[in-house]
Subunit: 439 residues, 2 copies
């Protein structure tokens, strides 16, 4: 019989835990036999000692199996999801998933909510009037079957130990551990019953892990887990040095996604969405090469199949599909306020995280898990890195309902744009594509 | 206002905590505002990152001040205690304290109980019929005043946060952290209202910290704390490569102490007890030099003043003082079993920890804090390191009541003695005397 203290001590002393030890700890913690204070001590020991690939895989598997795992094998096609580590204005789930689904990929997307400076897919979808994300697993399966795409939130049944452990890590300074992050993400994704997964791992100022090497290490860790579980998997390490697209805030982002699916969206959002959809199609074995998959994704955008898929899923999930044709049906803020350029020049740098924080302050995001979201508010960028600006030209428009946080928000945004005579060339959006090491 | 998570994160990232942060955490944990899972995460971060001398001092002070601190200033003489980090057959508290008290030192001794392979002063004293260690703080003060010496257990009032933290560390693999050990010991000792303290820091196989360098580091840490709190303090780093004296087990050890105070005890026990008493006398400023103090301690033994002091304290604490003249009044085991030498030779090594564990198995110690002690049982050594032995000569005598653990005990003891043709010279008992760095 194992004892929790021995497992903690073994990890503390830098030894590799066995599969049985990890299973013992995860299931014991899950059913309350191992108390929080032992789990937090183990998490801190993992923070310092790390985990081997085998340990991380087992932790993921164990957290996944201590909960419901969906069986979607009756769906007549590949099941591929996409996961982003989160960013500012990061709305590709509402563009890439419809494009991939329009090409025959089943996309069972279990998403999260906004927290801190980053947004969340569920909050964006809920800005569509009456859209319901809290489907039962049966309804989820049914929508998927009919429509090829469904969006829901994490249910209490899926990886419940991850939910408990994450809540504990959040208050014990043990969030920033790569193996724990990788296991947390992957335990939920692998429970979705997918064949393949595309990871969008953000780096840069607006990302959870700003440094490229950390993002790359996280990508490798998640790839190893997915590959170890027999999934087709790829990771794109992408730039989050400025918001993706121009809109930050829930209804504003939905509107931008609709525009993008109609071919009128910002270039960066369209191009990353097509890239992600292409990888979903390719991993779903619906195209012989990534180039062919890219062509299919582009065609789905051009033909309107993508916007039609979004319209369908909104309809299936009880939202008002007319928003796809009439953006005025989305919630609208009471007033708009422009932030203007202090001088002529070029945008050299945008403080991406600050834009996310300012948007959160306006009510578009959550400072704590219990904060309420205002779907209408947010920020629209008129200028991005490299753009030419003229003195007093608008850089940003704030969409405001509550004026109370406005001054703090404006103070934050005061330093959000660096405007210089010259700007460096813009870094490519996709920094790296990483595939698992074949063994 | 501080937040617990920020304090944990700061320590996790290797930064030094401020006095205010430490006070916030200690008092918050003490009153239940900071939960166990944050305290265990901080303890694990301290395990990895350590603590500066200033942090350790503040932690000690904060744990001490979040509880009762005795004021013994009305006692007309120096108040000096002695603390040992624990060992096997380590019974000097019952010899050194009476000798020092006989020389005019007030000894307010708050002691612990046995745990694992090490013994505890309270359990030894309780083998004396009717001896009561659970005095109130008022009774403790009264006995001290009348007799110059009193022995009690840690009360709930003294350093309660240390008690809570220790219980938590014990189940989260965070016991083995030098600053936490030092702060735990010193927070209790400094609450005793003492002017001076002699530390007996054990090293070797039977010690809590076997390695000399760890024992030395712990000694330095405790000295810095005591000195920082304005106490006169010294540390003796002493050998625990074999049991001290010959008896291991509660009543057996009391008998050996009485014999020692009558000048008939084992040399090592007598000599270390005199050394510790001498340092108590010297730190109490009752002798102009350590040599003069040593002479006074020896004289207290020779004159019978030491045994008289022990008799007095037993009487004051409601025990039967006649044990000092009639050892048969102590509890006696039902049978004795000899363990014999397998060959001729010299004792090269004794597995000190195993002897402690075997004694615990017989019932003399606790495997968990709730185990019951049998005061009569234990082990008497007939041979020590360097002694000549003849084939089949008794090495040990087991004093046994319950035969159930006997075979496991004998199996353990099978490898307790290394007997070779030649034995190395015996290491000196006192390895080092360390005094605080004067600043």
């Amino acid at each position: 019989m194992f004892r929790a203290i021995d497992v903690i001590q073994k990890k503390r002393d830098g030894q590799e835990l066995t599969a049985e030890e990890i299973d013992f700890f995860v299931s014991g913690f899950g059913r309350g036999a191992i108390p929080d204070y032992q789990a937090s001590a183990l998490a801190m020991a993992v923070y310092f000692r790390g985990m081997s690939a085998a340990e991380t895989l087992r932790l993921t598997r164990s957290m996944m199996l201590n909960g419901a795992v969906l069986d979607l094998s009756e769906l007549a096609g590949p099941k591929v999801d996409k996961h982003s580590t989160g960013g500012v204005g990061d709305k590709t789930s509402l563009v890439a998933a419809p494009l991939a689904a329009a090409c025959g990929v089943f996309v069972p997307m279990i998403s999260g909510r906004s927290l801190g400076h980053t947004g969340g897919t569920l909050d964006k979808l809920e800005s569509i009037p009456r859209f319901r994300v809290s489907l039962s697993l049966g309804e989820f399966r049914s929508v998927l079957h009919q429509c090829g795409l469904s969006y829901i939130g994490q249910t209490p049944d899926i990886a419940p130990v991850d939910r408990m452990l994450y809540a504990l890590r959040d208050v014990t300074a043990t969030v920033e551990s790569l193996p724990l992050i990788a296991a947390s993400i992957m335990s939920k994704k692998l429970a979705e019953g997918i064949d393949g997964l595309v990871l969008d791992v953000k780096c840069g100022d607006g990302a959870f892990l700003p440094r490229l090497e950390d993002a790359r290490a996280l990508a490798h860790s998640m790839l190893a887990i997915g590959h170890g579980e027999g999934k087709r998997i790829a990771a794109l390490v992408t730039n989050m040095d400025q918001p993706l697209g121009r809109a930050v805030g829930n209804a504003l982002e939905v509107a931008e996604c609709i525009e993008t699916l109609k071919g009128r969206g910002p270039r960066d959002l369209a191009s990353l969405s097509i890239e992600l959809a292409a990888w979903m199609i390719y991993l779903g074995a619906l195209a012989p090469s990534i180039d062919a998959a890219r062509a299919r994704a582009r065609e789905a955008l051009k033909s309107g199949a993508g916007i039609e898929k979004l319209r369908q899923v909104i309809d299936w999930q009880e939202g008002d599909p007319r928003v796809c044709d009439d953006l005025s049906l989305l919630p609208k803020a009471a007033e708009t306020i422009a932030v203007r350029a202090p001088r002529d020049g070029r945008v050299k740098r945008i403080a991406c995280r600050i834009i996310g924080q300012a948007s959160m302050l306006l009510g578009a995001g959550r400072s704590t898990v219990t904060s309420r979201i205002d779907p209408a508010v947010g920020i629209v960028l008129h200028k991005k890195i490299g753009d030419l600006v003229i003195d007093q030209e608008p850089l940003l428009t704030l969409h405001v309902n509550d004026r109370q946080p406005l001054q703090r928000c404006l103070d934050l945004l005061d330093h959000a744009f660096d405007i210089e005579r010259e700007a460096p060339p813009v870094a490519p959006l996709v920094r790296e594509v990483i595939l698992p090491d074949e063994k």
